[in-house]
Amino acid sequence: MAKNLLEIRDLQLKFYTYEGIVEALDSVDLDLKEGETLGLVGETGCGKSVTGLSTLVLVPSPGRIESGHVILTKEEDKKIDLLKQKDETLMKIRGDDMSMIFQDPRSALNPVYTVGNQIAEVFMHHRLKELCQKALDEVNKSIASRKGGILTRFERKALNKMIKNPKSISLKIISRIPLLNRYKRRLKKEVKKESVRMLREMRIADPERVIDMYPHELSGGMAQRAVIAMGLACNPQLLIADEPTTNLDVTVQLQILNLIRELKQQYGSSILYITHDMGVIAELCQRVAVMYAGNVVEVADVLEIFKNPLHPYTKALLESIPRPGKEFKSIEGTVPSLINPPAGCRFHDRCPNAIEVCKAVKPKMMEVKKGHYVQCHIVSK
């Protein structure tokens, strides 16, 4: 059986606002296996986006993670609880072991910097040593073929220093002096090569041209490819995709979905795919987790979920997908306010089969069939 790459246990998240304390996530439990694509589906406001952000410990204020564990399994089965890590460790992990792609590519890209600049950031931050080494190899080649002079030898010294101690003060001083900081140009050339390579892998036709463009010059699809490039640059173990196709045209959606599928094969990353679209889930995911009002209510394989949904919410959700010839069904009622959430099961006031205990006691997640978990009193009986 595949190992768990990510384990979220008992995650509690609260937003402290003027109107009251919003209990956004209520004991969320989630497992992501190595190499799989897990879909996280639910309607707007159910907490799926914020679950993704919590995994990277990037929850914006006034949100606060109250309790819980987010356990990442790194190489050699080393498990670390991300919620207990210091900032420096987290910054090394973000972008390198885990990364995220976003819903609106235009707002995820900084409008005043070129696309190339922003992809380069990821490389410069996480792959500095390798890139310096590559630049160093180039310099050595130049020196060996007698093309270099004193300055080139100085570049070699500078690059060596950078490999050993990138934060040294002497480097900081040298990097400001015009002739002496030529080593930076070599480094930038290497970085650019890598960035162009990334864009090419995103199936962008003319990466050399796109690299120097600004975000507002790109179409939605191109911009999203750039964002995906940033996410996959360092070959992360886990990619969190927060509704990456929602803001795109339908035809572009299909292209991006295909791209993600191909890239997953190529890079072997695990994906946590957050969406509200059951169709995308069917296309892309192996397992599905359904969220409602801050709880994970059902987890199962994708085929199982579609064939045999157990939780009343999941059933209602699947029934409400419009199909030609079928009568249009919707779910009665509205999502409860999370400021004073109802006690017991949060779905009870909309559930057609609710019983007494549903109002009072919150159901526990039970494995009803192999690999099929449900959080419901009726089903677990």
Partner: protein, 353 residues
Amino acid sequence: MKKVRKMGMGAFIIRRLLLTIPTLIGVTLLIFGVTQLFTPEQRAVIFLRQDPRRAGAIEGAIAKYHLRDPIIVQYQMWISEVLQGNFGWSLTANKPVLTAILAKVPATVEVVMFSIPITILVGIFLGVKSAEHRDKHIDHATRILSIIGYSLPTFWLGIILLAIFAAALGWFPISGRLGAGALNFVTSRFSGWRTYSGIYTIDGILNGQLWITLDALHHLVLPTITLVTIQIALIVRVMRSSMLEALGKGYITAARAKGLTKKEVINKHARKNALIPVITLAGLMAAGLINGVTITETVYNMDGIGRWAASAGINIDIPSVLGFALFSGLIYVMANLVVDILYAYIDPRIRLE
């Protein structure tokens, strides 16, 4: 590749330069409009190259420059005179207006050339820090100081600084650009002093007389503080609020998700975006600077164009005031041109306009 990026810039600069021409014409029209509110006798003084109190000078001017003729003719005459450099005779300075301006500009430039970098650097730095540590002590302190800062009248601040640091403590001189000894040295014919730019701090270095430079700096401290305080207060406010706005945007979360350090996120991503409204403000503040310079020079008794304009105003010296108005209009238009170019350099979306 850099050429491709900058190409948008070149066309933009040319377009902006062309746009300044109608604005400059409009400025002259405005000033000309103001002159039409005067009697022909008063207007005559604007054209004279010598002292208007000589006999027959005014009548002669009225005849020569067709001051009773239709407006179009008058405008033509006036513009041609202006373009030749004849702005009229300044009663307060006892020389032609243009000569007076050129003689007094170095003093003003000297004050301004220290104020602008200080304002920009300190203002931006404090604004960023204030936003970074939102709602903590440094933020509260900066906000309170900045709101007090731009509620202060410039002249009051100047007087208080004078009273405390110059008169009471004696740390700084009360008025002027140089002390008596330095002034003698600079104006005497036997000291070997050569005036290169009229700016004492620079000329001191060029002449090898560093003590003159130090003396000039000593005299500049209080005026610079007076000018700079209010500008910094304004910049800090705008920088802080635009930083806070930038920090709420999607690309900040994306940058953090890439694993960038907080310092990088703030200084690289947020700050450049936050600078955009501040640059717009800087253009407007060029006007505030001219206002402030006028008052500062008056309070500190420095012989620059600001003080000259103020005394011209009190003495109803029309050509001087109008000449100053033309000059400041020109400066303001140039300053806005620079600001627009900076704006386009930072924000690539503007280059398409």
